[in-house]
Symmetry: C2
Subunit: 245 residues, 2 copies
DNA sequence: CGTGTTTTTGACTTCAGTCAATTAAAGTGG
DNA sequence: CCACTTTAATTGACTGAAGTCAAAAACACG
């Protein structure tokens, strides 16, 4: 409809959650926004902020993180293009976690009220936005289980599988061959491990013939075996047959 | 308004998130429901289910959990009276986690569609329900950080502080003196530890003069010091001054 | 009062963390 | 295009927090 609009990734995403009519899609594309480029490792939202705008990731990657005492950090989700990175923080008024860019990012900043008004003026759009936040919660729950109850190998493998599937689903890579935009230290902060142990675990996966890595490129050689040792069951992503259409 | 209705805890809760007028409150009280008693350790929702009803906890406690390979389980949240225990699962159509009763529970089961219709017919109620799910997500994020990046003592202390504050806020106990409805094994599954280590950690907290336990009763002797070693900052609960009114 | 949980304790093990050094890669400016 | 700095990946030796196993004590309850 407006293929060149920075809002296109959002419109496409919402269409997956709820069948939207022409008028509803137009309303999405009519959202006011300002478009910005942001450098890597920049904070988009900081815990304690009162964001006035919602940030839609158009290209690049960002993470949500929480900082604990003694400086440790836990990455609680990774956002890929098409994600609204701080719908939570905006609606809740006071941000309870940080959002930081991982790579160079381009993003559309939409006023908080515009999103809220749209959500309730157009129930189907509203439901799609709500579902978006619920899936985010589902991913965080799976991460909590991953961190709390799986060993290092399974944790790291699970993260690699999740990425494979989310990138594939967003049309940003093949399921078994993609670019992982994270350093080993960031993988460590996402899995509750240390970077040293992540390094050993990644090369163990390579040694087991499950993956092949070159720089940031990941090839999953044997998806079936990988999914098994990763204890990966993608239903929590609510993508396919399980999707809440 | 209808102080004896099982829906009263829901109405009260929603009032905290959004100022509701008389008509809006009436609409909440007009929700159809069936009232049930459920025994302890019963599954209310199972991962993979397609729930037709939303369950509102009227009295008693329940948990959300994920089961991993080899039988491990991770508790990802505890629900207290007034919580909707499976709004997520209902809206997403296919449940991505289990809900299980911890104690004897009484609950109101509300048809999924009735909730959804109300949410969009009454935007202020809808926003309050949405916020309810967002706060749930915020708590899960904090738990992920707790499990992934804090040591045993801090993890357990954090859980005790969170309970203290949530129960107090719901009018179900004093902040420094309450009944914890969980066994040490369940605390272990909530913190990513083993029950043996939880036991040692709980008595270490007692020995440090931070808590006094008798059976399930918890007294926090020195809240300030406890909150400090727990790395507990309640902003993520979005209760007080930070609340998104 | 006996049966089944739950809590507590002790002895021993292990997975992952720590510390520290080396190598490799990616920028950066001249 | 090359020295120079910075960041990221890798490796090895050692440590330690939490897990495992197993048994006893304390409760809870029909």
């Amino acid at each position: 409809m407006h293929p060149d609009s920075p809002l296109a990734p959002l419109a496409n995403k919402l269409t997956k959650w709820s069948t939207l009519g022409r008028a509803e899609l137009e309303a999405v594309y009519a959202l006011p926004f300002s478009f910005k480029q942001i450098a890597p490792h920049k904070m988009i939202v900081r815990e304690g902020d009162r964001p006035t705008h919602c940030c839609l990731l158009v290209s690049g990657f960002s993470i949500r993180q929480k900082i604990v005492a003694r400086g440790g950090r836990q990455i609680v989700n990774v956002n890929i293009p098409g994600d609204m990175v701080d719908l939570q923080n905006s609606l809740l008024k006071v941000a309870d976690h940080d959002v930081e860019t991982l790579t160079e990012v381009s993003a559309a900043f939409i006023p908080r009220e515009a999103i809220e008004d749209l959500a309730f003026a157009r129930p189907r759009v509203g439901k799609a936005l709500w579902l978006e936040t619920l899936v985010d919660g589902s991913i965080t729950r799976e991460w909590a289980a991953n961190i709390g109850r799986r060993n290092a190998k399974t944790r790291v493998a699970h993260l690699l599988c999740e990425f494979a599937m989310r990138l594939d689903s967003a049309g940003l890579g093949e399921q078994c061959n993609y670019e992982l935009p994270m350093t080993q230290e960031q993988i460590a902060d996402a899995t509750g491990l240390t970077s040293v142990h992540v390094n050993r675990t990644l090369r163990a996966l390579d040694a087991d013939g499950l993956t092949q890595r070159h720089k940031r490129s990941v090839v999953i050689t044997d998806w079936k075996r990988m999914a098994k040792i990763a204890d990966f069951h993608p239903n929590y992503l609510h993508l396919g047959a399980d999707s809440p259409l």
